[in-house]
Amino acid sequence: MAEVLVYVDHVDGAVRKPTLELLTLARRIGEPVAVHLGAGADAAAPVLAEYGAVKVLTADAPEFADYLVVPKVDALAAAYKAVSPAAVLVPSSAEGKEIAARLAVRIGSGIITDAVDLEAGDEGPVATQSVFAASYSTKSRVTTGTPVITVKPNSAAPEAAPAAGTVEQLAVSFGELSTGTKVVSRTPRESTGRPELTEAAIVVSGGRGVNGAENFPLIEALADSLGAAVGASRAAVDAGWYPHTNQVGQTGKAVSPQLYIAAGISGAIQHRAGMQTSKTIVAINKDAEAPIFELVDYGVVGDLFEVVPQLTDEVKSRKG
């Protein structure tokens, strides 16, 4: 069976959920070979094996952290040479897409980004994309070279399927360009303890209607009662009420949770582009004409300052 390279997204060996989804999807088109770069391979390998990696290629070097993107491309290209895979799958993070982009140029292959589904086809893997703010669904293929495909989080439910997961060292020689862009300093983001926005099963977002940073705890309290991640519209972010990393939409995060709750958000096309593929959509807005209501499964026309706290209390009491 053909091998499929899966680029592992991890934090010091803690494998992130989108990678487990990729391993699950990879098994539809071949045998997953995971590529783990940086520290923590010992911790990651058993997890990768549990989700179907027949092999785990690992490399660690200071270059991966000290320089932007290119060292990882050098390593992935080395894995590509070592394996001759039928496809290369990379998580659709900002960095993942850039790694995939350079790899595609280097190995002379077409690229598809932001796939939301993947299946085997007669002429290679077929990727589904959700485009134009989710108003269209397309099916595409790579016709030249080895398909390089980036896949959005929440595109598949991770399924365990234990495999050998044999760990092998990957020999990487870094090219001249690898040290081109130096990471001079890095300030890690403080953890909120809440789920990752792109991976969360439930997202609660606040918009301009929240009317001030001091009111965002209202949104956070609802999120915490549901075990959800917190999102924000660009209007709320631009006003400085919530960090940009929490922005949902075209220039923020694309989320695709089981449940999306929008409070005080009108539903502009750029916001919809980032949440329209959510399974269930709920909105609270005092304006009955707000475009967000065109998308909702359930909507409450009302003041969020009344509705949200009541909902939070109700969720808490029902959960006991």
Partner: protein, 261 residues
């Protein structure tokens, strides 16, 4: 020495319009008005600011696109760019990301550059891959997704706000930069700017000017193929209730019914 800045700008269908696919499964451009991708306005803005800081700089805006894409160039010129290059060729219809990056890289080399500035992603394809591809093709550093950027002493520095961390980056020129919509509001063209833009040079290039063959680009040369594009049924409007004091409780009831609580 003059700092040569090339800004890549894309002409895209208006996202607030009703966008469709044409019969050949490329974007139907007759359907909706086109405009300069709003995210590329941020790239033009940063170029203008960098040029202001430099002793001597020249900004060329570059687009690969159909005839109407000149509108995007005019907008960028009216914001203050000095000149424009338009790569225009019937054989470009349907070019994918690999092809676009190839044409851009050739055109950038044709113009001559110290710094290339792009947007973070187009507002149509929205792949966010072209700047990295162009850097790979030109063989220069990529300093991408910056929310802050500065150029001094032959170096570009900037801040990249990622999920896990915020990073301070540095590279020597020549380099490819992309900027996010957090980099600073783009200016509106002034009346004077709009008038001045009419006199600024727009150079048109075709594939042969760039030493490219028709089969390296366009639908025929594309390395990817769209087999199907299906319009999604609009989401059917669900239940909408007016809050009469019990809105939160009713919503909780709905969530419980869907097994979210």
């Amino acid at each position: 020495m003059s700092l040569r800045i090339v800004v890549c700008v894309k002409y895209v269908p208006d996202a607030t319009g009703d966008r469709h696919f044409a019969e050949d499964l490329t974007v139907d451009r007759d359907d909706v008005d086109g405009l300069l991708s709003e995210l590329d306005e941020y790239a033009v803005e940063q170029a203008l600011q960098i040029a202001d800081e430099a002793d001597d700089a020249e900004i060329t805006v570059l687009t690969v696109g159909p005839e109407d894409a000149k509108d995007a160039l005019r907008k960028a010129l009216s914001m203050g760019a000095d000149k424009a290059v338009h790569v225009e060729d019937d054989d470009l219809h349907g070019t994918d990301a690999l092809g676009t990056s190839l044409v851009l890289a050739k055109a950038i080399e044709h113009v001559g550059y110290d710094l290339v500035i792009s947007g973070m992603a187009s507002t149509d394809g929205g792949m966010g891959v072209v700047p990295a591809m162009v850097a790979e093709r030109l063989g220069v550093p990529q300093v991408t997704l910056l929310s802050e950027v500065a150029v001094a002493d032959g170096k570009v520095t900037g801040r990249r706000d990622g999920d896990a961390a915020s990073e301070q980056l540095e590279a020597s020129l020549p380099a490819v930069v992309s900027v996010t919509d957090q980099s600073g509001e783009a200016r509106y063209p002034s009346f004077k700017g709009i008038m001045a833009a009419k006199k600024k040079p727009v150079e048109s290039l075709d594939l042969s000017d760039l030493g490219l063959e028709a089969d390296e680009v366009g639908l025929d040369g594309a390395w990817t193929k769209v087999d199907e594009a299906t319009e999604r049924p609009a989401r059917t409007a669900g239940t909408i209730v007016k809050d009469e004091g019990e809105g939160g409780k009713q919503l909780a009831e709905f969530l419980a019914g869907q097994k979210f609580i």
